[in-house]
Amino acid sequence: AQSVTQLDSQVPVFEEAPVELRCNYSSSVSVYLFWYVQYPNQGLQLLLKYLSGSTLVKGINGFEAEFNKSQTSFHLRKPSVHISDTAEYFCAVSLIRRKLTFGTGTRLQVTL
């Protein structure tokens, strides 16, 4: 079975500071990995995904994530956050021909 763990339920950060949102997964086989963002009162929007190839994946809004197979991690990073990045972020994993499994989410709160 596949599972996803987001270690931090909330991450407060000041504007223009760097941020890392952590995600670990468990699976005995290869997986596809995703980060989604949810702004207040909206659905989820894909930030980025890792399917294969380069372990550093760049997404929208300046976010990037690095796939680390040995540590089974897929942490999301941004070098300088903006107030508008305040949202909830979800890590998700899928096996080949299987549906997405989501983590419990990390609420990023950016303040001045």
């Binding site: 909206q42 894909l46 995904k49 399917l51 549906k99 997405l100 989501f102």
Partner: protein, 113 residues
Amino acid sequence: DAGITQSPRHKVTETGTPVTLRCHQTENHRYMYWYRQDPGHGLRLIHYSYGVKDTDKGEVSDGYSVSRSKTEDFLLTLESATSSQTSVYFCAISETVQGTEAFFGQGTRLTVV
């Protein structure tokens, strides 16, 4: 934005009444999903469909049923609503399961009183 419409967007219903939520897509995607979102649990899959009349259970399917008679519509029914089913429900679609993006609707906030 992907063409996904959920209806209704908000609903308050009484315990024991049946409720049907509708998801309509204009993308002709094969896969459709129903998730519920609750604090501390993230999104949990209720049911999904991989084609017309082809559906399967997710991790929290008890108390829910689904139907898909047309490619574009995926209905979620709570046969007899309970307070534990108060949640925000999201519909999602994808072209395939294998590594493609899932597009989400705006959500339906359901309150069972």
